[in-house]
Symmetry: C2
Subunit: 402 residues, 2 copies
């Protein structure tokens, strides 16, 4: 255990890095995937199930928690860790992204953003300072700057304006955050799909000497190739000694390609949301357990998995639970999916340590293809007000739902 | 472990009995409460959570399982135990009760009952022989005869006709069941709220020399006093050496009063359904976690409980989860409720062993009253097609929902 927040890279393989973030609440092995605990719960999971799956850190959503149960109330209850019974590190986003995608009647200006709650229509303000204050009340270990995230595609002018506003907000967040031993505040690179803007954003942010840097505003509708080229453009301009976090990403394929390009941290609702909608991620690709083809299949999802949900219950039983709308079906598939994502990360970490990342990724992808033909690639940074995912498919189209 | 099905009483206290049912799949400590696993899952629970709570046996619903996933399919998957990953004993009902309460366009005659599925409108037949066949396909350890369960109040003529039909069906079920080493078939006492009919039913059933006897058709709308007087009327006519099962009961108060009168086994959806609707059963009565009074309450449900759901999470957090519609709220409250019911049974068993049942019950009731003023008494043998409970309140009225 440590009193300070630190990051150390212990191995590299090409651009990819194997590292460790040390915090007073525990270590985060990178590359890391953070399950999303939107409203103070990784949906359908007990915290011990999340830990058992291998997660070192979970994400909390400032937007959801400030509206319900309220940041001051969480603080009175001893903070988010104690409230949700998760004593390991928590990263919180700034709330900005969900304000843009979920709330009503929002108005953005230099000071911040005012908006209406999607729950009860009440009016709220979120400034860079208030976002940091809320994240402090929650007790977050890694706090994110407030940023403006534009929808893609958009004009260069809009992307540039939002990027500059985000830079000014980053500076205000840094001042508001001050010195918090053991905790970190990360900046967020913006700039839409414009390489020049992304590079400028990364360079200017780096001047602030923050504890870590995120890439935001990707996986919001653009093809994977655009996302990857933005990552490639930004990476050389971020300091090698700081963790790099690709926000809201993504599919297993997105993740391995981003790890290959030097990204250290990820979060996405995909494994949890898919689990609540009858979808299983496995070594052999994604399965839709609702399909009749599974109705009599006695095989578990993956006998080689260490996850009880993946190695114990038959596909036929999971199919039955999904068809019957049983909560246990959501629990088991969510658990299996979180576990699969953590296994994926563990495999990537080991491959980097052993200097065989490219071979490993090729083998992982061969398994996906051999097992079950993959459906369209989907990313899920976006979330509609009704809780559906906004999916960006590999052919460039956007679709609602998983 | 044993190859045979047996029952032994090890202690008595007044009419109450402390016993053990031995089966090849494990022992059942009586008085026992069986959590209900309607469609092959105790709703929202992993099987290990049910076991951890202290349950020796769960109940499966023939009606639900025959419609989905289908009895023959369950058999192909190795039986219900293997399918749902519960290797301990399972009791299945006959399907008759749910046919009467859930299905559409049902027609009952001497041969059996034909009905339309509430899921897809498909037509099905259930005879005494088919019910036993289905329960055998499921692999049930304790199988129930098909019976006709009338709604209360009803005329004596209707109650008598249904009781006699149930007796004839009991005989056919006994023949169909034959000899199944290690398994048992129980008969069901009917007769509405008419003492004379209940006594006749018990006497005639006893002639069949079955492995156990249930009391059916109670807690379907009548006041608790009527239910208890029917139990008192029937008990002297059931053989002391066989287990006695009060079907579909009930509230904690119903259970302690029935145990006091010599009942050995219970089942009810109340703890699981209540858990999905924000209600917690505790030593200090029932709490509605949806109420604003819990919003800032840092106390757990019961710090003295061994259940992680009851001793770890604050009421404020549970309130938040319930308000936000989070699955984890349903999981935690279901777990706490099942655990509470099992603790209640363990306390009753210990008190019988030690010859202090009356004092124990008085102390249990004092805790309920001291803690939180009890709401109207509710029993839950009934279930509406939409999944709501049909509640019989202590003032004699009937209400939908928990």
């Amino acid at each position: 255990m440590t009193d300070a927040f630190s990051f150390a890279v212990s191995a590299t393989d090409g651009e990819a890095r194997r590292g460790t973030i040390a915090t007073p609440r525990g270590e985060i092995r990178t590359p890391a995937f953070m399950p999303v605990g939107t409203a103070g719960t990784v949906k359908a999971m007990l915290p011990e199930q999340v830990r058992q799956a291998g997660a070192d850190i979970v994400l909390g959503n400032t937007y959801h928690l400030m509206l319900r149960p309220g940041a001051e109330r969480v603080a009175r209850l001893g903070g988010l860790h104690r409230m949700m019974n998760w004593e390991r590190p928590i990263l919180t986003d700034s709330g900005g992204f969900q304000v843009m995608s979920l709330s009503g009647l929002r108005k953005i200006d230099e000071r911040g953003v005012t908006f209406q709650s999607h729950i009860d229509g009440s009016r709220h303000e979120l400034s860079p300072e208030r976002s940091i204050e809320i994240q402090g009340l929650l007790g977050s270990d890694i706090q994110m700057q407030l940023d403006e995230c534009v929808k893609l595609p958009c004009s260069d002018e809009i992307a540039e304006k939002a990027m500059h506003l985000s830079l000014r907000w980053a500076e205000r967040c840094r001042v508001a955050f001050g010195e918090q031993p053991g905790r970190a505040m990360f900046g967020i690179v913006q700039g839409g799909a414009v390489e020049r803007l992304r590079v400028e954003s990364a360079r200017e942010l780096t001047r602030l000497d923050l504890k870590g840097y995120a890439i935001g505003g990707l996986a919001v509708g653009e093809p994977q190739a655009v996302m990857l080229s933005m990552i490639e453009a930004v990476m050389p301009h971020l300091p090698a000694a700081k963790p790099r976090y690709l926000m809201g990403v993504g599919t297993p394929d997105d993740i391995v390609e981003a790890v290959r390009r030097g990204v250290d941290m990820f979060d996405c609702v995909m494994p949890t949301r898919a689990g609540r909608h009858g979808q299983a991620y496995t070594r052999y690709g994604r399965l839709n357990l609702r399909n009749a083809v599974h109705a009599d299949d006695p095989r578990p999802l993956d006998p080689a998995s260490a996850c009880p949900a993946a190695n114990t219950y038959s596909r036929a039983y999971l199919h039955h639970l999904v068809r019957a709308g049983e909560i246990l079906g959501m629990v088991l598939l969510t658990w299996a999916n979180i576990w699969y994502y953590q296994d994926l990360m563990a495999g990537l970490r080991k491959a980097i340590e052993e200097g065989r990342l490219s071979d490993h990724i090729a083998s992982v992808k061969a398994d996906w293809i051999r097992g079950a033909p993959p459906g369209p690639r989907a990313s899920c940074r976006s979330e509609a007000a009704d809780g559906d995912a906004i999916l960006a498919l590999s052919d460039g189209t956007v679709r609602r739902g998983i």
